[in-house]
Symmetry: C2
Subunit: 452 residues, 2 copies
C-alpha cells in the first residue's frame, strides 16, 4: 500500500462541510447565531456530533468572535513577525484569512485535508480535528503597537503613519507583575470554540502557515468562559467562585456596542494619523490575572462577598435584589456603612464610577499547572473589547489596581493590547468552483485597508 | 445585608443532587454507565444542563475512572505528603474519600456548599462549579513508591512492608528527558469529566482539603481524550493527527481486564511483602510525552503513515482493511518490504510483539503554552492502567524507546507510576440522615486495607 500512492481525495478523511450561506455571510440561523453545520462525512466515518456542529459566518462588517455568544473554550496566540518584508506580511495575512475562513466553516486548513493530496508532501491539515465538527469556532485577528513601531523605533512595514492614537502603550498599573514572555506581540489570534481541540487545531494550523513570517510569542489556553455576551447565556463563574460579567455588554444591545465597542468614523477623524482602516473594528485588551487561589479559599464568606460586593450564590448586589438588580451604592446599614463597600469590586468597576463606560468582556478561566510551592497557577485571562482603551480601560484599571480590595488576591502577570480590524466583507473572498475559499496574490484579507 | 448573616442554607446556591443509587453503587443506567443526574436547583437558578448531568457511582469493587468510558477532559495532580504522621495521612484519605464521593455525585465539597454556612468561615466549597452538573466526574486515587519508601530510605508511615514488588522505580528509557518537577509523587489524583471546570474544581477542593498534610507536586491538564475505553466510543485523534488507541482494551472485555488490568490474588500471593491490600486494584502509568509538533508537520504524508503503520484518514493498518482490521505483519510489497514497516509504531506496540500483553490506555492531549523558540509545548499525556508494570509496560516502552521511528518526534518529559487501590465497597460510606456522605474518624477510605 505504501507503494501505491492514491489519487488525491480518494482516501482518508478530509474535513469538509457543505458551504452554505455561512461563509458568505448570510443571516445567522437560530437563537445562538449558528448556521446549520452540514458536515459531509467520508464513507465509513461515524456521523459527526451534530449538537456542536454549528458554524458562524467568517465574513461580515465586524470580525466574528467579539459579539459572538462566548464559546466555552479559548486558545489565544500572540505572534512576533520575523520577516521585514511588507509583502511577506501581506501574504501571511492572506493565508491566515483563507485558512480561518475554511476552519470556521468546518473545513480542513487546505483543500487536500489531513490525509490526502500529494503523498510525498506534508498534508494540508494537521488532522487532529479531522473527525470533529466546527464546534462554533471563531478566529479573530488583531495588530499590536509593535507592528507599527518596532521597539527600536524602526518602521519595518511602512505602517508608522497608520498607528491609531488609541493603540497606546498601556501604563504600568499598581501591582502589575508582568512577564514580558506573556505580554505584547505584533499579531494576535484569538480562537474560540466549544471544543478545545478545535481551538488548538486552529492556532496550530495558522502557526504552521506562518512559518518563515511569524513565530508564536506566547499562548494562553482558557477552559471556562467567564463572561456572557448574549442574553441567551447564563452567567458563568470565575475561580473566585463568583458569577462574573453580570453587567457585561451583550450582543443584543447594538446601540451600546456602537457607543462602547466599535471604532467609529468620528474616532478616525480626530486621530493624528490616518486610522480610517480601523473603522468598524475595535481594540482587544488581554490581561493574564493570576488569582491567589489558596489564600482566597481561606477567606470567610463574609469577606469574599464584601470584596466582590455581591452574594456568592445568586450574584445579587449586597444592596439587595437579584443578580440583575442594579446595585444601590447609596444604601447604608448600621452606623451608616454602605452595604456595597467602598472598596468593593462591583462599585469600583461600575459604569457610574467610570464616566459611564462599558466593556464587552470575553474572558476565560485558566489553570497552567502550579508553582514550586504547590500553589495553582490559575486565574482569569481577562479579554475585553472596547472602542478606545484610553477611555474604556486605562482609567478603570487604574482605579481597580489602586483601590479594589480584590487586588490583594490578584496579580497581573501578562498583558496585551491589539487593534482589531473590521471583518472581511461578505462576498469578497476568492472561491474555487466548489465555493471554498482559495488564496491568491489578490485575496482579500483581514486588515487589508491598513495596507491600502 | 452584610450585618445580618443568614441562617445556613437559607441563601445562595448549594451544589446538590438527589442521591439515588449512584453513590451507593447501584447498577449504572444507560449505555454510557450514567446514573440519572437529578440536580435540584435553588429557586431562581437556571435549570442545569441535563445533557451532561450524568454521574458515575463512586463506590464499587474497583475505583471509577479506569474502565469508565473516557471522559473528554482530565486534570491530574501528584501530591507530596508533608506530614510524617500516619494518622494525619489516614485522616487525609478519609477526607478525600468523602469529598470525592460528594463531588462525583454532583454535590458540593461539603454540606454547606459554596455560599452558605457560617458566615465568618471560609465556604465548604470553592464555588466555581456551583452551577455546573457532575459532568461525568470520576476521581481516582493512587499511591507512589515514595509513600512506602521515602527517597532517603525512611519508612515514614510504617508502610515499607506493604510495598508491592511491581511498584518499581521505572528504568531510564532511551531518550527520556524527565523533569523531576513533572515526575513521581507520593499520591496521585486523576479527575476526569466532560467539563474541564468540573475536573479542576475537584482537584482544587481536594488540594484544599490536603492543607497541612500534602501539597501539589505537579499537575497536568488534558483537553482531548486520546483513547476510547468503551466500544460505544469513537476513536479519537492525537496531536499527530492519527487515530489513537484503536486496539485499546475496552470495558466490554471483562476477561481481558482481569488478565491485563486488575491485580489478582495470585499476584499478591507471589509478592515478597504483603500486598494483598492491592487486590482488585491496578497500576497507573503516567508519561508526559512532548511531541515535536512543528517538525512532524513538515513530514510527508507517506512518512507519517509509514512511521505509524496506519493510514491517517481511516486509521487502517497499511497491510490493508479498515480501522478495526488486525494488522498483517507478514504481508510484503515490492522487493519484499513489509507493508507495515519494521520500525512502525503499530508493529512494535502490538501484543504479538509484546508477549501478548495489553494495556488499558486512558491518555489525553495537552498543550502547555510554548517554548522560547515559539514551538508549542504540546503532546500526549499517556495514562495506562495495567496489572503489573514490569510485564505490561517496561518491556514495551524499552522496545519503543529504542526502535520506534516515531521517537524522533517524541520526548518523554514527565513520568509517574502509582499503585491504584481497589474501590470503597458499596454501602460502606458513612452517610448522614439525608444520605450524603460524612467524614468521621471511622470513615472508610480509598486504600484502607493498606493501613489495616
Amino acid at each position: 500500500m505504501t507503494e501505491q500512492p492514491p489519487a488525491p481525495g480518494s482516501r482518508g478523511v478530509t474535513r469538509r462541510a457543505v458551504l452554505g450561506g455561512g461563509l458568505l455571510g448570510a443571516a445567522a440561523v437560530g437563537a445562538a447565531g449558528f448556521a446549520a453545520g452540514r458536515a459531509a462525512a467520508s464513507a465509513g466515518e461515524p456521523a459527526p456530533d451534530t449538537r456542536a456542529a454549528g458554524t458562524y459566518p467568517f465574513t461580515g462588517r465586524h470580525q466574528a468572535g467579539i459579539v459572538t455568544p462566548a464559546q466555552d473554550r479559548l486558545y489565544l496566540a500572540s505572534f512576533d513577525v520575523t520577516t521585514d518584508d511588507r509583502e511577506d506580511l501581506v501574504a501571511l495575512l492572506q493565508r491566515w484569512t483563507t485558512i480561518a475562513a475554511r476552519l470556521t466553516q468546518g473545513l480542513s486548513a487546505g483543500p487536500y485535508g489531513a490525509a490526502s493530496g500529494p503523498y510525498d508532501a506534508p498534508p494540508d491539515d494537521t488532522g487532529e480535528a479531522a473527525d470533529l465538527p466546527a464546534a462554533g469556532l471563531t478566529v479573530t485577528f488583531g495588530f499590536g503597537r509593535s507592528l507599527f513601531v518596532a521597539a527600536d523605533g524602526t518602521d519595518r512595514f511602512g505602517l508608522a503613519d497608520r498607528l491609531p492614537d488609541a493603540l497606546v502603550e498601556l501604563p504600568h498599573f499598581p501591582a502589575d507583575a508582568l512577564d514580558p514572555a506573556r505580554s505584547d506581540g505584533d499579531l494576535v489570534v484569538q480562537a474560540c470554540a466549544d471544543d478545545p481541540q478545535v481551538a488548538v487545531h486552529a492556532i496550530r494550523n495558522l502557526s504552521r502557515a506562518a512559518f518563515g513570517a511569524a513565530t508564536i510569542r506566547w499562548t494562553q489556553l482558557g477552559y471556562g468562559r467567564t463572561s456572557s455576551t448574549s442574553t441567551a447565556q447564563t452567567t458563568p463563574r470565575n475561580l473566585f467562585g463568583f458569577k462574573d460579567g453580570t453587567a457585561n455588554l451583550k450582543a443584543e444591545e447594538p446601540d451600546e456596542l456602537e457607543r462602547h465597542v466599535w471604532v467609529g468614523e468620528d474616532a478616525a477623524a480626530h486621530d493624528s494619523r490616518d486610522s480610517s482602516w480601523l473603522v468598524g473594528g475595535t481594540y482587544l485588551v488581554a490581561r493574564r490575572i493570576r488569582m491567589q487561589i489558596e489564600t482566597w479559599d481561606r477567606t470567610s464568606l463574609r469577606e469574599q462577598e464584601a470584596l466582590v460586593g455581591r452574594t456568592k450564590g445568586e450574584g445579587a448586589p449586597l444592596s439587595g435584589g437579584e443578580e440583575l438588580t442594579e446595585p444601590d451604592f447609596e444604601v447604608t446599614g448600621r452606623e451608616g456603612t454602605p452595604l456595597v463597600a467602598l472598596n468593593s469590586h462591583v462599585r469600583l468597576a461600575h459604569p457610574t464610577h467610570n464616566d459611564g463606560v462599558r466593556m464587552l468582556r470575553r474572558g476565560y478561566n485558566f489553570t497552567d499547572g502550579n508553582d514550586s510551592l504547590g500553589r495553582l497557577d490559575a486565574g482569569l485571562f481577562f479579554i475585553a473589547f472596547v472602542r478606545d482603551p484610553r477611555t474604556h480601560y486605562v482609567p478603570m484599571q487604574t482605579t481597580l489596581s489602586r483601590d479594589d480590595g480584590l487586588m490583594e488576591y490578584l496579580q497581573h502577570t501578562g498583558s496585551g493590547l491589539f487593534a482589531v480590524p473590521p471583518g472581511v466583507p461578505d462576498g469578497s473572498l476568492v472561491t474555487g468552483s466548489d465555493g471554498t475559499p482559495i488564496t491568491t496574490s489578490h485575496s482579500p484579507f483581514v486588515g487589508q485597508a491598513l495596507f491600502a
